[in-house]
């Protein structure tokens, strides 16, 4: 094993045709940690995860998952990794129980019946276990898929947007479970578009257009962004936003309900830009840290014109 690393890859690059979708991707994930994988649509998250579990062969770069080479030992990786695909990929014409049973058979689990029973009970689907998976609502499908990919007790979980379309209550339960599994030594790499989920991760990796733009703990990412933010509350922040958005020194203005975030990379310029508005009655101005979302939107900025899809 490469030290205590569950994932240790460097220089991964993947091209589709002439387009490079993932560029020089390197991460080292220690065992037992939960890492968040963020980035705009089409930034290459799914592609990267597929390379990690042997579903795609990288054009260059090398590395190991759980100590197995991603190029040559993908069979061993597959046995020890739970991969949850972004698109539901269990059988809609099989019942909940039959799907889980299929997975348990594939991994040749000794206590198959018991493990399936337990997974169904944990999902709270004991009464509906005979129902076809295709008849489940979107959120329930996600939960079934998650249950199926942790059924064989993998050492590494690769989850591709596991909570897309899942309600807040179920999302919270899901994250509690993730942390419980991590405490037992399981390593998790989870892609998500939710900021609150990013904040629950030990580390985050932010990918845009195939390149890692930021990495570290949430605080590190915010600190490294060199972004200065003012928060305005009270009154009609929308009107204010409209007035401010094209002023020099202000790079980003976003409305969060009744608060306004105004950010820029040059502290002095930013202060100068907002100066004329500071005295307007009814508004409270506070200098603060940017939110993670501010940072991500800022990071995406230079690339926003690029066509993706």
């Amino acid at each position: 094993m490469s030290g205590g690393l569950a994932i240790d890859v460097s220089g991964l690059t993947k091209k589709f045709g002439s387009r490079t979708v993932v560029k020089d991707f390197s991460i080292q994930v220690p065992k037992g940690q939960v890492w968040g994988f963020l980035g705009p649509n089409g930034s290459g998250k799914t592609t990267t995860i597929r390379m990690l579990c042997g579903l795609l062969v990288p054009d260059s770069g090398r590395g190991k998952c759980l100590g197995y080479d991603i190029r040559t030992e993908s069979a061993a990786i597959k046995r020890n990794v739970g991969y949850m695909t972004q698109r539901f990929s269990f059988y809609e014409d099989l019942s909940i129980r039959e799907n889980l049973d299929f997975v348990a058979r594939i991994y040749e689990m000794k206590d198959r019946g018991e493990a399936v029973d337990k997974a169904i009970a944990q999902l709270g689907l004991t009464k509906r276990q005979g129902q076809l998976a295709g008849q489940l609502s979107g959120g329930w499908k996600q939960r079934l898929a998650l249950a199926a990919c942790i059924l064989h007790r993998p050492q590494l979980l690769l989850l591709d947007e596991p909570t897309a379309g899942v309600d807040p209550q179920a999302r919270r339960e899901f994250w509690e479970e993730i942390h419980m599994l991590a405490a037992q030594g399981l390593t998790v790499l989870v892609s998500t578009h939710y900021m609150d989920e990013a904040e629950r991760c030990d580390r985050i990796v932010y990918l845009a257009y195939g390149t890692i733009l930021a990495r570290g703990t949430v605080d590190e990412v915010i600190a490294n962004s060199k972004l200065y933010t003012w928060i305005v509350t009270g009154g009609e922040v929308r009107d204010l936003a409209r007035e401010l958005h094209d002023k020099p020194g202000i790079e980003q203005v976003s409305v969060f309900g009744i608060t306004l975030h105004i950010s820029g990379t040059d502290d002095a310029k930013l202060e100068k830009a907002i100066e004329p508005y500071r005295n307007r009655p009814g508004f409270t101005w506070t200098k603060s840290h940017p939110s993670l979302e501010d940072v991500f939107i800022h990071l995406m900025g230079p690339f926003r014109e690029q066509v993706t899809g």
């Binding site: 597929r50 579990c53 042997g54 579903l55 795609l56 062969v57 993908s74 069979a75 597959k78 046995r79 990794v81 991969y83 695909t85 698109r87 539901f88 990929s89 269990f90 059988y91 809609e92 014409d93 099989l94 039959e98 049973d101 299929f102 997975v103 058979r105 594939i106 991994y107 040749e108």
Partner: protein, 377 residues
Amino acid sequence: MLGISFGRIAAVFVKELIQMRRDRLTFAMIIGIPIVQLVLFGYAINSDPKHLPTALNVQDNSVFTRSLTAAIQNTGYFRITNIVHSEGEGEKLLASGGVAFLLTVPPQFSRALARGDKPSLLIEADASDPSAAANAMAAISQLPATVFNNDLKGALRPLQATAAPFNVVVHRRYNPEGITSYNVVPGLIGVILTMTMVLITALAVTREVERGTMENLLAMPLQPFEVMIGKIAPYIVMGYIQVTVVIVAALLLFGVPMLGSFFDLSVALAIFIAANLSVGFTISTIAQNQLQAMQMTFFFFLPSILLSGFMFPFRGMPAWAQVIGEVLPNTHFMRIVRGIMLKGSGLADLFGDIWPLLIFMVAVMALALVRYRRTLD
């Protein structure tokens, strides 16, 4: 590399069985297609094949026999391919399908002819495909009147072209009444299996790609061989169900005889079904979606029905078509089924058609395994 696991094959097998049971339409098709085809193909399409292989059993070597042989070939229907020296040897060729006719010139033929005794020539025809044999037999019946005019000279001149100096005795073997459905119905087994088995496996795998379940299947520790066997096995069972439907109908509705053994038939069936399923599996490794899989299936199905001897007598086809036909599993299977059902042939007699089936099966399976995707690339 992991070893092959029976448990994982079973996982795929069970899953496939459940899906098959839930897919009502496919299930209906499996039972429906044989019945519809049986009704549709109850009638045969006639043709006029020429140059049919003929074995000659000459027990009287004389100038007359040589003229006779030449005359027979000149009709265009017969091509002497084998000279045999005993009745048994000829019978064997006929039973294995090596020749379509066995012509026997009895001992003392020329002497009897010279005496004006009107001796008989015996023609035994493989009439299991009646349309193939019919015109040839009509042609040979025309022979006697003129064939020896050049040889009957001098003292024998009075025999020339009076009435025919000898008789032709024709024995239709295996299907004495020349009933077409005897030939068509067993052949239908091959046609139906080709169509449904190839299509179903082609769809079963492409469906996984189309529905996105392939990604999951590939992410699990499954070997291509395990997927293939697990997916193919349930359809072998289904193939046997279809065959049962056709055979029961053949026996009850059309009164087709079953002279051979059911065991031999099931052995041949197993090979044939597996060969077709591997074609389907191969198609599924090429097709991007179910529509393409369907189109490719028909691309394979058409020659299997047109060039296999099902629609038109095999020996009536041009040489290039016969070459293609010989590659197709249906061609060989057609001969095997007809052999077993109509002639009572055993597997040993039919070995000449079994090994090409086996080779086809192994080759296509290997191709499927090589082509099967292990990644999403």
